[in-house]
């Protein structure tokens, strides 16, 4: 634990093995057969490296090497099932493909996002995936200028290929489900309320379109006051709903699990009147199916989205392209 413990280098190993640094390097990075190093010397070096607890100096290696094999990812949050799942699968898939994943969490802060992107590029990331970035185009622009590929995930941008959920179809499916259950359970035809998110936000806007389309196909008119897209936090949803005291059957389309927390708080305060309420949520949570009144949730296909994103890595990028990934409807 002393500060002056020098890490072992290939030069140390070279001295110990009575060989040259270049031999040590090639043995340890696997290129030694091409360099016609004898099996005997290779074995000796490998044994010594293990004995000494050698670990390559990645900065030195990266400095010289062409490719870094680093792929960076920017996510807004970790403490959320959706982004947690994305981060976790991203790392696993990156490793499976021989990349070194570096994920960083930027709290939906545009400045922090940009700083993080710059840092990842500093570390010579080969590709940067921005998930739910507030300003993806700024990041893409910087990546383009540095010759680094960038891909948008979950939110579309105009300066890089974007892989996003099919929010429209998902929202339409979910809306239909809630409307159906309102009819069968409560004998009531809607219109539903749309709770959570921000209208200026792309995903919210598209989901709202799907929500409205599902109503239109049943010839149900949605009054403007039913669109309660006042923000993402649980508090915002709860206060938006505070004034809504159902005098008859009611249904809600909840736009995220964060908003769902507020909805459930409101729902529970209704006590006996809660029987008159049905809702569904765009986004999945493992405890969702146990919440009374919840008729279904949309689970975004994280694996498919990431698979698609990884397939894009290294390919020439078709800017502006949007790739839609179908969502999965979980009914309870």
């Amino acid at each position: 634990m002393e500060k002056d413990v020098k890490r072992t280098t290939i030069y140390d190993l070279a001295t110990l093995a009575d060989a040259s640094p270049s031999a040590v390097s090639s043995v340890l990075n696997g290129t030694w057969k091409k360099r016609r190093i004898s099996q005997k010397l290779a074995d000796r070096i490998i044994r010594l490296a293990e004995e000494q607890g050698y670990a390559v100096n990645a900065p030195a290696s990266l400095l010289r090497r062409e490719r870094s094999h680093i792929v960076g990812m920017i996510v807004p949050k970790y403490n959320n099932r959706y982004f947690g799942e994305i981060s976790e699968q991203f790392e696993a898939m990156a490793r499976a493909r021989g990349f070194f994943p570096v994920v960083t969490c930027t709290q939906r802060d545009p400045e922090l996002e940009f700083e993080a992107a710059r840092e990842l590029i500093s570390y010579q990331a080969e590709c940067l995936i921005s998930t739910g970035a507030t300003d993806p185009d700024r990041i893409s622009a910087f990546c383009n200028a540095s010759g680094v590929q960038s891909i948008n995930l979950d939110l579309p941008g105009h300066a890089a290929t974007s892989v996003i959920s099919d929010n429209y179809s998902g929202a339409k499916d979910l809306t239909r489900l809630i409307l159906d259950r309102c009819e069968t359970d409560l004998g009531w035809r809607g219109p539903l309320r749309f709770v959570g998110g921000r209208r200026s936000d792309h995903n919210t806007a598209v989901r709202l379109d799907g929500f409205l389309a599902a109503h239109r196909e049943r010839a149900i008119t949605v009054p403007g006051s039913h669109i309660m897209a006042t923000g993402y936090s649980a508090e915002k949803a709860a206060t938006a709903l505070a004034s809504v005291i159902p005098d008859g059957p009611t249904g809600l389309f909840v736009n995220s699990t964060i908003s769902l927390e507020g909805v459930v708080r409101w729902y529970r305060a209704l006590t006996s009147k809660a029987e008159l309420v049905r809702y569904g949520c765009f986004d999945w949570d493992p405890f969702g199916s146990f919440l009374p009144g919840n008729v279904g949730m949309i689970e975004q296909d994280v694996a498919a989205m990431l698979d698609t994103a990884f397939d894009l890595i290294g390919k020439p990028a078709a800017t502006e392209q949007q790739i839609l990934i179908p969502c999965m409807l979980r009914t309870f």
Copy 2:
């Protein structure tokens, strides 16, 4: 997006600014005043760097520099409120203290854990925090050999300082709460069942101690069959409980939110008999308070744990030391 876009270097900037690479370097890393570079030249270089979208080559910089300012963290999972929270706060706190955080997720796989540790050390991390590692001592040993500080979080080890929740007191408090509520709600005195986790696992063992102590202080005997620590997954908990069909009041101590999923599945299948069941969970989830039958949860004090861990960074390590952080009991 061409492959041969060369990133701008200090040499490029030096040519453009008609100055030397060393001047450019010192201006961009802030040491230029000590080197008596004129304000005029500094301004010129900074402007050019921005125009060119310059980003330092971190590997080159790290190679030469003494300190990397990188702190690494290993977590088992992201898709879980507890570890999601840890990762997120770790990153925020690291940045606030001028460090560059790198978090990596190792799926409770000992080999992957070790590989990840080696990689982080390769990248010259100054300190490595292992969270919930399955084999923390192996990681610490490797760190020690490389002169890198290591700290255990959430699970104790013998080769580095460990910062962990006070599982004993937390479990005792939670057990008391469940026992109390069983008495007041159901008029029943226990004993409770202990569901989830593994007895060989340190945290489970300590929580079990607290669980038993709370029973002892009320002179309640817990039969061996009530300890159902058969694993962490939701399925394991559900199958362990499958045979338990309450003929009278029952109470459960659930050892993690993962196990809780299985418990809730079982609970819901009880339908009318569910009224006879009360449970509490060691670990917090935002939807926990809405689950019927749930009387309270333990929330581990992530901020305090991380604060403590960060304060240890750079300090000479007292191996074997365990620092206990109190948990918070949330009652519903």
